[in-house]
């Protein structure tokens, strides 16, 4: 066995260019598997992470309300009452379109103004830095109060403390700032960024909007286990109201993540398959070279057989030679693939790491290729008749 490995290395070294070219096929194949699989799963994994950050329990409802068919906050709160164990929190979200917010004489052009309930803070997983969150009384009493993002506080008031209890005018109407939210995203701390927002009670927002409809709701489920049941129940309810599924949409983060994960699986399997074809071609290359090698060494095989080498010994020698060739190719391929994955990941700004299974799979496949595609030539060699083999010069 050890002897066979030594012989294999010797044979590989004795024809360096040919061995290198044979290995090149394996190297490219293995590197391709690793790069494609790792980049794709890194990229998709990042998308999944983003959804997870937004909250796996989050379910969003979009409707296009009309005078004849519409739902309102009472309908949604009734839905919560019907399924108290499923739902943890609920908030309408009413975007104030074409509202003008002013802090003194400064215009807050880029700031998003949203009408929400007291639950919205929890759903978004934000925290109050200064003052308080909106409370039920604000919503029920339609108070002219607001909670603002830290960008608004810092830019127009200097700091959260200074902004607290000051006022903002929205469409000329003054709102008292009762709270400031902690900075959410340092990297995006700019105009129109994550922290550039104003929340007011949704009851106030609906009044300020001309048509008074609530088109969007967000809720958190108590557990992702209920995602499907909630989605189904909501869709049934909305379908009864709207009679047309183009007028509403229910989107659960956990099902999106699930779907994403499924597509990652399919996509990576597909790419691995495509790269696998190049490995197959490489395997045929190995077989080709081994067949040549057997033909060239017919005389050697004849001598060995005459001296008493059994078929198995000859077979082993050639199979090991093929396996060693493709394994060396595989190791280089893994190294190059891993390096390329890191570099491409860095350039594309993706957290791409050569996945363990891609490395193991492609290593296994390259060893297997050596064994499988070395088998036929090795068998030819082992079956050679020593007399015929000795006659060849």
């Amino acid at each position: 066995m050890l002897q066979s490995f030594k012989l294999a290395i010797k044979a590989i070294l004795s024809n360096k260019i040919r061995s290198a070219l044979t290995m090149l096929g394996i190297i490219i194949g293995v590197a391709a598997v690793i790069i494609l699989v790792s980049i794709v799963s890194g990229y998709m994994g990042q998308m999944v992470e983003q959804f997870e950050e937004m909250g796996v329990n989050k379910i969003t409802i979009f409707c296009r309300n009309m005078n004849t068919r519409h739902i309102d906050d009472d309908d949604m709160y009734k839905f919560w009452d019907e399924h108290p164990t499923w739902i943890d929190s609920l908030s309408p979200t009413v975007t104030l379109s074409s509202a003008i917010a002013k802090s003194g004489s400064d215009n807050l052009d880029s700031t998003t103004i949203t009408g929400v309930s007291e639950d919205y803070l929890d759903i978004m997983k934000y925290k109050v830095e200064e003052g308080r969150n909106l409370v039920y009384a604000d919503v029920a009493g339609r108070s002219s109060v607001c909670v603002i993002g830290s960008y608004v506080a810092n830019t127009f008031y200097g700091s959260a403390e200074k902004a607290y209890e000051d006022t903002i005018k929205i469409n000329g109407k003054p709102f008292t700032i009762v709270g400031v939210i902690e900075t959410q995203d340092e990297d995006n701390f700019e105009e129109g960024g994550t922290d550039d927002f104003i929340w007011i009670p949704y009851t106030v927002a609906t009044k300020m909007n001309r048509n008074g409809f609530i088109n969007n709701f967000v809720m958190n489920s108590t557990d992702t286990l209920y995602t499907e049941e909630i989605t189904e129940a909501l869709e049934e309810k909305l379908s009864n109201v709207f009679k047309n599924d183009r007028l509403y949409n229910v989107m659960a983060n956990s099902s999106i993540i699930k779907q994403l994960n499924q597509s990652i699986g399919t996509l990576t399997a597909m790419l691995a398959g495509i790269a696998g074809i190049s490995l197959l071609v490489a395997g045929i290359g190995v077989m080709n070279i081994m067949l040549v090698s057997v033909t060239e060494r017919t005389r050697e095989i004849g001598i060995r057989k005459a001296l008493g080498a059994r078929q198995g010994v000859i077979m082993q020698q050639f199979v090991i030679e093929a396996a060693v060739t493709s394994t060396i190719g595989g190791v280089f391929g893994i190294a190059i693939g891993a390096f390329a994955t890191k570099s491409i990941g860095a350039v594309m700004d993706i957290k791409a790491n050569p996945t363990v299974w891609a490395v193991l799979l492609s290593f296994g496949v390259s060893v297997a290729i050596g064994l499988i595609f070395g088998y036929l030539p090795a068998k030819n060699a082992a079956r050679l008749n020593p007399i015929d083999a000795l006659r060849v010069d």
Partner: protein, 239 residues
């Protein structure tokens, strides 16, 4: 031990060429005892190599029986033949047939390797064998660094390494000049005097006469089998 080492009975080797049958060996009967030195002689195409392949267990007869060391080889599998070659026969080829990428020591070790002998013992036996042919010092060299005569001596060392029952030489001097041929023949004679059984194939009567017994074949048939003196007389060759 009364069995002959080689016992060939009614052996035929027939090759089919198109619709023609070539009787390369045509009813051969031959017994060779342990300790004999026999040459098999004949013209080109007479069937010498065919017979040597049978004797060497490299090939199986078309019909007839071949008992080597009392065992019938005609029913053996490929691997069984390999084993019996390994244990009972030491081959000396015309073209030496050394492996160019192995050192002399590794070449001589080969039959021992296939016999499953451990590294250490293999090394000792191979070196012993090389020193018998006077090439122990060159053990780490490669065949192409040696002269033809030296290479043939390495191949004899390889044949001797496993202490086989039979040394089988096919035209052992065919590729050598007359002086080195003489050296190799003297060496074979010495091995015979030490008790080795030797079968030597040659087309050259002068070389055939170096043995103790001569078997002459013609068109696949044995036409003479007797001691060297009567062969020389019958075929009127000056000894």
């Amino acid at each position: 031990m009364s069995d002959p080492l080689i016992d060939i009975r009614n052996e035929y080797k027939i090759y089919i060429m198109g619709n023609e049958q070539v009787y390369a060996n045509d009813n051969i009967n031959l017994k060779i005892d342990r300790g004999e030195f026999v040459s098999i002689v004949g013209k080109s195409g007479s069937g010498k190599s065919t017979l040597m392949n049978i004797i060497g267990a490299l090939d199986k007869p078309t019909s007839g029986k071949y008992f080597l060391n009392g065992r019938d080889t005609s029913t053996m599998s490929d691997d069984e033949l390999a084993d019996i070659r390994n244990k009972t026969i030491g081959f000396i080829f015309q073209q030496y047939n050394l492996l160019p990428k192995l050192t002399l020591l590794e070449n001589v070790e080969l039959p021992l390797l296939y016999a499953g002998i451990k590294v250490k013992e293999r090394r000792i036996k191979a070196l012993e064998s090389l020193s018998k042919v006077g090439l122990k010092e060159k053990y780490n060299q490669y065949p192409n660094q040696l002269s033809g005569g030296q290479q043939q001596r390495v191949s004899i060392a390889r044949a001797l390494a496993g202490s086989p029952s039979l040394l089988l030489a096919d035209e052992p001097t065919g590729a050598l000049d007359s002086k080195t041929s003489g050296d190799v023949l003297n060496f074979l004679k010495k091995l015979h005097s030490e008790g080795n059984t030797i079968v030597m194939i040659t087309h050259d009567n002068a070389i055939a006469l170096e043995a103790k017994r001569v078997v002459r074949i013609h068109d696949g048939k044995i036409i003479f089998d007797g001691d060297t003196e009567s062969y020389a007389t019958e075929f009127q060759i000056s000894h």
